[in-house]
Symmetry: C2
Subunit: 225 residues, 2 copies
């Protein structure tokens, strides 16, 4: 019962939550971890139970005994270090570990080059037309971003080689969201191959956003990516 | 000559560059590390020497022998692990390490709650008036963000206790930029005390942005923070 002193608050489909959940699942802790799913739409993440542990009122919020840690990247590192005897998510060689760290931190480019420029404006404007010239520019930039990740996967099963690492943990939620929003990724075969493969991975299946199972997402990216 | 196979491209005053520089300096590698300062204003970070190592054309760009690693957080972790026998920037206890990771990743809130909402718009509008109501709201949010960091420092020399850690490395460039832009932080005495103390730290002095020494920064925040 390695997880008996843990508690995990989370929201469905949130990339930061999903990252931490993937590590819990990879370490064999997800099923037994005491947890509660909260609804962002009802502002449950601002409830007193979350705020007591995390004054920012953000999800995920996590504790393990006396250790409270809420930033998703920090939860991932904490779990990796505490449960280092289970399914390691880093190689042991320092140079190879650098590549994993590179991928983990590099993911912020997907946020700035795709999520903030294409996904967020379309979520917010609910179908109203966006500036055409600007959109064209943003689509080009988003494709360039996808090109980089596609290239990283050539000849490799996972982002950093043939072992699943923390780099994959940080990347998967964003790739899955792009697919959910209708990106065909037809120009990025390695990304599609990788996506199909990770969708069969037990940790990914166990943590798949529950509300995604109820029906398809809004088809926001199909025409462009 | 631990740094003889390294090369570091950087820009003056860039928080990601400064983070990596602080770790190089804390590890006693900054002076001997082969390096080149580039000018963002002349797009030197898009030059062929950088692009050969870092197709994103971003700074920092870093290599150490066969290892190329460009994301600042990844450079910091690589250096910490490779030079783990010099001035450790993490405690050894897993629970205490979690706190350091928490601070490292939590810094993104300073970006979203201060840099993007107050600093960037004022940099961009060059003195033209901004929406007053929105600014008031953003100032309140920025102060709330500063409150959190101020509170973390009560009774402690550094962010995670009385040892300098990677949490401080990630935080210092942003605090220094706020001070440079005229924030008095008069409502945040712990932040001022901490700032005065870290300004005397050799690693901070050795890596202080060269162009900051030429004169004061634009007084963008004085009235508000």
């Amino acid at each position: 019962m390695a997880a008996k002193d843990m508690f995990f608050f989370w929201g469905s489909g949130s990339p930061p939550c999903w990252k931490a959940m993937l590590v819990l699942a990879e370490k064999g802790l997800w099923d037994e971890c005491p947890k509660k799913m909260l609804k962002f739409s009802e502002k449950e993440h601002k409830g007193s139970d979350v705020m007591a542990l995390n004054p920012r009122g953000q999800l995920p919020t996590f504790k393990d005994g006396d250790v409270t840690v809420n930033e998703s990247g920090a939860i991932c590192m904490y779990l990796e270090e505490k449960f280092n005897d289970r399914n390691k998510l880093f190689p042991s060689d320092v140079g190879k570990r650098a590549e994993v760290y590179q991928r983990m931190f590099e993911v912020h480019n997907i946020v700035s080059n795709i999520m903030e420029t294409l996904v967020r404006p379309r979520m917010q404007n609910k179908g109203a037309p966006l500036d055409e010239e600007k959109t064209k520019e943003n689509v080009a930039k988003a494709k360039e971003e996808l090109d980089r990740w596609n290239k990283m996967l050539v000849g490799k099963e996972f982002l950093c080689g043939n072992e699943f690492t923390m780099g994959d943990v940080f990347f998967i939620p964003f790739l899955a969201i792009l697919k959910r929003l209708g990106a065909t990724l037809s120009g990025h075969p390695e990304l599609n191959r990788y996506y199909d493969s990770i969708c069969g991975r037990p940790s990914v299946q166990a943590t798949w956003p529950p509300h995604w199972k109820e029906g398809p997402g809004p088809d926001l990216l199909n025409k462009d990516l």
